[in-house]
Amino acid sequence: MSEVVETMEPGANEIDFSRVDRARLIEALARVLPPGCLLYDQEDLRPYECDGLSAYRQMPMVVALPETEAQAAAVLGVCSEQGVPVVARGAGTGLSGGALPHAHGVLLSLARFKKIVRMDPVARLAIVQPGVRNLAISEAAARHGLYYAPDPSSQIACTIGGNVAENSGGVHCLKYGLTVHNVLRVRGLTIDGEVVEFGSHALDAPGYDLLALMHGSEGMLAVITEVTVKLTPKPQLAQCVMASFDDVVTAGNAVAAVIAAGIIPAGLEMMDQPATAAVEQFVHAGYNLEAAAILLCESDGTPEEVSEEVGRIRAVLEESGASEIRVSRDEAERLKFWAGRKAAFPAAGRLSADYYCMDGTIPRKRLGEMLEAIQGMEKKYGLRCINVFHAGDGNMHPLILFDANVPGELDRAEAFGADILELSVSLGGTITGEHGVGVEKINQMCSQFSAAERTAFFRIKAAFDPDGLLNPGKAIPTLNRCAEYGKLHVHDGQLPHADLERF
């Protein structure tokens, strides 16, 4: 009975926007934006054709660069009235194509929203515009002995608006949480251009937790115009323990042992041998190149606290079979230990013309299994893969190396990635820990969620954006798309949406 109704629900099919009238749109936008805030010549649009996932490219119809919230609201008003899709964009560093433009839509850049509105050291919060860079917040807070804790590896460039849209993590989120744990309030605009505030400067707000819902919503519910972040007192000291292991399974078990000992390190990262070899040749961090895996385990706090915790970490790692343990002797050495981990992506770029970064998260105890499976996939697809991961929270970033100029390699890399994501789901994990679904992992959403669950997502979207104008075609696949993709989420042994037409 309900199946027939389901196909009428939002999200059964992609919405067709091909009838958007370009001239009418440009005319209306020019009326609400100052000169220089609207781009529509092909050469001006080019820089916006992709985000950090350059394998996907699409020219937008126009780019709007509002300078004020009122202008952004007016742009949304025009789009809402004319039925035009809107894709919001921060710094464009996202790795899943979440800010990929829409051919018949407006690319709404928040790049000019880069003011730190207020720094409040007493209440330990900062009110910032969405185009403020992640690291810039910590830099501005430093003189008060405070910082903004989430530190995605792109923190020099990525902006806070994008961090909220993707619920970004980072190296230290095991102890300090993700973006959702460090944001108090998001101010934004609905698709109609109305101002709306989610959360508050208190620790909660009346009604449903829409603040949490905004996190990781990939620009599909509202457009962010201001964010209040929580600031954390800077630890007095941080020290890093670097341990080498002869095989990856032992290293994986050591991670579990640290947690079992009741320790929540400030960071707990793993690199496999190919990753270590790749980075060592250009950062010279002194990594043990014989080791099958290296663990970096950080402790922070007061000097007394760190010394106590480092002692405990050391004992656990020794007992867990580490072949070599080194503890950073000073800040310079600590940064050197981390330099390699932080340079993993550029190092992959030196090894190979292109690389493809995955983001699956799995229960920690399945790490060994996953790594073995990846070795098998390297043979299957004839491509190399190096592994760095946030071991503490099971979030893996396999980097698949390929050369887009060699015919077939991009396709093989994508198939390799899809295999890893499917395996992440079947090991009890998720296809994305912190990079978002975007366009990149949209097919794998069909494996992770049932048709009923995906329909629920579309209903949530419709509660904010009834006409489906905000970032359409991203994050949640339509029922028909999943039917075409073929790898179905089999629930209770029944094939979902068997009633749908297949094209």
């Binding site: 007493v122 330990r124 619920n167 959702v180 744990h181 709306v196 949490a212 009741g262 009890g428 949640i476």
Partner: protein, 353 residues
């Protein structure tokens, strides 16, 4: 499908078809909270037990009808706990704890219920059994429905399973007491909050500020030396924090309306008639007051927060602060998305949800 679950699916579909309401109920310990429950009781306690718990993964998955005491006892054996210290107020269940979204004294230091919720299994108002989130720490696949459901007072869906992040119990804990007035207490709490100190709870009432420190032994010892104050005996301290969490402290006795004001931690003392207690470093203020609701709400809003009529009083004025701007419409549409026939928690949060 489990027999209990399929029975519930059937009941929900029937209620939706008939247009009747269901009161989702666990231990009934927080029935006082929100507007009066409506509809026939659906008791979740027949669906109890721990589904999966692996201490090294820091995650526990539990059926919604599991008594919170039972869950905490299992975690305790492994040296772990629910860090947000949920209040019991009676025979609380895990599902009720998530649905009510109430956290205890450790809230400001570690986060609330939503911060520890990793995934849920639920039945929506159409009778569909759905899974959102998961059992891993980081997950951005799909909208964060789990956190949306936390604190929704059972108005969106019936929770069948919840996955919670757990943490190791702190190695050391010490409680200090200082004599100071409200203004001084708020100043000190905010000052300490900006320093790397292991403060895990605070409670001010009637000229006494009590502060709990938790963490590594060395960190707690160093903070004790630095902060001074009078050190409470372990038994006395444990009893005090339990009394604060469960609202058995003398401040909470009496029948007058009890207001909860959630404010920015550095907001000035509220200028309202009544008796005050302060928690969460200044971010949660309790007010026993017969004063007019409208004015209490205005004062809370002006300070950047909101006010809840937590216990007692006349609920006709609304338990929760009215929603501002487009939020009311978004709430109604979300309710409709999950529960179009309004089977669940009718009127519990707001009259039109």
């Amino acid at each position: 499908m489990d027999a209990v679950i399929s029975g519930w699916v059937e009941r929900i579909r029937q209620a939706a078809a008939e247009g009747s309401a269901l009161e989702i109920r666990g231990g009934g310990s927080k029935r006082f909270y929100g507007q009066a429950p409506q509809g026939e009781v659906l008791d979740t306690r027949e669906h109890a037990g721990i589904v999966a718990y692996e201490p090294t993964e820091l995650v526990v998955t539990v059926r919604s009808g599991t008594p919170l005491d039972e869950l905490e006892a299992v975690l305790h054996e492994k040296g772990q706990f629910l860090a947000f210290e949920p209040p019991r107020f009676g025979a609380a269940t895990a599902g009720g704890c998530v649905a009510a979204g109430l956290a205890g004294p450790r809230r400001q230091a570690v986060g609330g219920v939503r911060d520890f919720l990793l995934g849920v299994q639920l039945i929506d108002g159409r009778g569909d059994l759905l899974n959102f989130g998961g059992r891993v720490m980081k997950n951005v696949a799909g909208y964060d429905v789990s956190r949306l459901v936390a604190g929704s007072l059972g108005t969106l869906a019936l929770l069948t399973e919840v996955s919670l992040k757990v943490l190791p119990r702190p190695v050391a804990e010490t409680t200090l007491r200082f004599e100071m007035d409200q203004r001084a207490a708020l100043l000190r709490l905010n000052e300490w909050g900006g320093q790397p100190l292991p403060v895990s709870a605070s409670f001010w009432h009637d000229g006494l500020l009590t502060l709990r420190l938790s963490g590594a032994g060395a960190a707690v010892d160093a903070a004790v030396v630095r902060l001074g104050g009078e050190r409470l005996e372990e038994d006395e301290a444990t009893a005090l924090w339990l009394a604060v969490r469960e609202q058995r402290h003398s401040f909470f006795s009496g029948d007058g309306p009890l207001w909860r004001l959630a404010l920015p931690s550095d907001a000035a003392p509220v200028d309202l008639p009544g008796v005050t207690a302060i928690e969460w470093g200044g971010a949660q203020r309790w007010l026993r007051s017969e004063f007019e609701a409208k004015q209490i709400r205005e004062v809370a809003a002006a300070a950047g927060g909101h006010a809840v009529l937590f216990r007692g009083g006349d609920k006709a004025i609304g338990v929760f602060q009215p929603l501002a701007g487009p939020l009311a419409a978004i709430h109604r549409r979300l309710k409709n998305a999950f529960d179009p026939a309004a089977v669940f928690g009718r009127g519990r949060l707001y009259p039109d949800l």
